[in-house]
Symmetry: C2
Subunit: 372 residues, 2 copies
């Protein structure tokens, strides 16, 4: 069943909105109170272009919380579980944000622009309000703003050729999450090695919202020799790749350790951050749930619109947070949150809209980059 | 142009979702990361049912931030510009929330359930994170949660008859924003005299998400003698009535005084709240902008999807935050934020998608309740 989307100024348009409409966008979702293209009418074709070629995505919804001012480094360190003093300018870090109880609030990429200026490139939750509340309570001298910055992603194996043809061969040697501020055709941008797929690529952060059309067309033209086309983050690819979707795979009480983010949460470093002591306690006591993969038997299922109950021995032991039909594996796959006392050899069943199905657990990710 | 809406578990369904689908919902918007019905295929008919009759709305998206625990009263007082100690249990207050700079963060209704338990019935922003940040920074002993509570609105002049036929005649004497906890047909609810229209009515807060279908059908059946039908908050009615839409009529730097909310912001009371000193300064210095009404000349315009520039003497002096064609006045009307130095007798022009139009200022609201 499909429904129209209704929106007004409460749900903002991206600087690339008109270009995505001109290029045939058919569906939107919302994210950080903005419209995000969801597909252009051919989700499967768009998926294979990402796997085999190169795709350009309006991901303006990945908004930045900018932290600046005298206490910016101290504030940023309070929010993120990485040692901010050890990050060089021009480097980024995946940086899950937790509250004092250790519950995950967002899983942004932290970009260190200067010693007193940071961006959190956010997933879908209002970290501006969290950070401003913490800063208010602690009396920190910081400004927390949403700058006019809108990423455009270039993703897929041919993204390196496209991006190098625009900016030069130096982009090929950017480390993952590293970034560089530059200007192209008069348009101020940040070029980052990042993106919400496992197929490789870049995100071009547009720093002037009036130049959306110029940047879109520049990338589109540079991509023609490589058969670039418009696309979007694809749910099928992200599930195959085991990527976390904050808000889909989480609920308000989910913590980063049960999501498997332990290697991005430095509990043993010197600097303190919000949630550190709670997460240390969770680590010491052991996680109560685990994020894992499930193969679901039977005919092709529709993509899950909500969490599906997962049972073992007739008892609910968790949920599938998302389920899709894998185009590379040609079977139903799901990401699940399961009680950690259940052995991974358990016989599971999943309550789907098409009835109860048998399922078996498998480690994430389901697929490595590229064709299987 | 219409587009499909794409969603998964990141954008939650309401307990009434299946009922709204069965009753023919055609479009959704999103609000507090949930789906909200936007219309059922006949927006004009749904509008007139609200004006003349009675309409039932899935407004589950009006989520509650519940503040409880030993410091609940102190925390709530910090957030809201009303004297919490003077509110009786069972009373509500419209309570605009500001940050330390006086910027509006949300405009909820505060419900005092007990001396140590409060709900903020929220507009579209994440006050849970703001409140948890403030509580963390100040070391307050509170729990800030999102309880399983989903309002269903009954709105329109006949809403009194419908609601009285369900709960009894006592509902007719509920003061505005007063509420009462009760049980109907085994379903736990809060009955409140409130709703996002000026046509009168109630909101029934469902306190058990598994009973959505039961409550929906109960209201639907009780409403049959009054020709009740499914509806939604209507943009046309809210603009005619001058109601504030947080996120549509605001931007991150908008303060409550320039929105005309001064009478709901008690700057002279004893208790302190976040933003009080900043708002006193703004009051003393005078507001820089005002929220006002505009008549826009010419043929029927489409409903605004974004802010439209407003000019006086060729200079931009503000924006229309929303513009609609008024069905009661049969002309184009808009809510605007205008620089306060511009006299209200100015000759305005508005840059619409259909070209530049002349406009004249007029006080809000455009319409009183009922037929003009």
């Amino acid at each position: 069943m499909t429904f129209d989307i209704s929106y007004n100024a409460r749900i903002r348009k991206s600087p690339f909105f008109d270009c995505t409409v001109a290029d045939g966008v058919k569906a939107f979702t919302t994210y950080n109170q903005m419209l995000m293209p969801a597909h252009y009418g051919d989700p499967e074709g768009e998926y294979w272009r990402l796997i085999d070629g190169v795709s350009m995505w309006d991901v303006s919804v990945e908004r930045q919380a900018q932290i600046s001012g005298p206490d910016a480094a101290r504030m940023t360190q309070l929010l993120v579980p990485r040692d901010v003093s050890k990050i060089r300018i021009g480097q980024g870090r995946y940086a899950p944000i937790s509250d004092a109880q250790g519950r995950l609030l967002n899983d942004p990429v932290l970009l260190k622009l200067d010693h007193d200026r940071y961006w959190l490139s956010l997933a879908d939750s209002n970290i501006w309000l969290w950070a401003r509340g913490v800063a208010y309570g602690l009396g920190l001298d910081v400004e927390i703003t949403e700058p006019d910055v809108s990423p455009l992603a270039i993703q897929g194996p041919k993204s390196f050729d496209v991006t190098a043809s625009i900016f030069g061969d130096w982009v090929r040697s950017l480390a993952y999450f590293a970034f560089h501020e530059t200007v192209i055709a008069g348009i101020p941008v940040v070029v980052a090695r990042s993106g919400w797929s496992h197929q490789g690529g870049f995100e071009i952060y547009l720093k002037d919202g009036t130049r959306g059309k110029d940047l879109w067309n520049l990338v589109k033209e540079a991509g023609q020799p490589f058969d670039i086309g418009p696309g979007t983050p694809t749910t099928v690819e992200r599930v195959e790749s085991g990527l976390l979707s904050y808000g889909t795979d989480t609920r308000p009480d989910t913590n980063g350790l049960e999501l498997g983010l332990g290697k991005f949460i430095n509990l043993d470093m010197e600097p303190d951050f919000v949630g550190k002591s709670a997460l240390r306690r969770i680590r010491d006591e052991g996680i109560a749930r685990r994020r894992t993969g499930l193969f679901i038997d039977g005919e092709r299922l529709p993509t899950a619109e909500e969490h599906w109950p997962v049972l073992a021995d007739g008892e609910q032991v968790g949920v599938c947070t998302i389920a899709v039909f894998s185009l590379r594996l040609q079977r139903n796959i799901a990401i699940a949150i399961i009680e950690n006392t259940v052995p991974d050899s358990a016989s599971y069943s999943v309550e789907t809209p098409d009835g109860t199905r048998e399922a078996t657990e498998t480690p994430l990710p389901f697929c490595t980059p590229g064709r299987v």
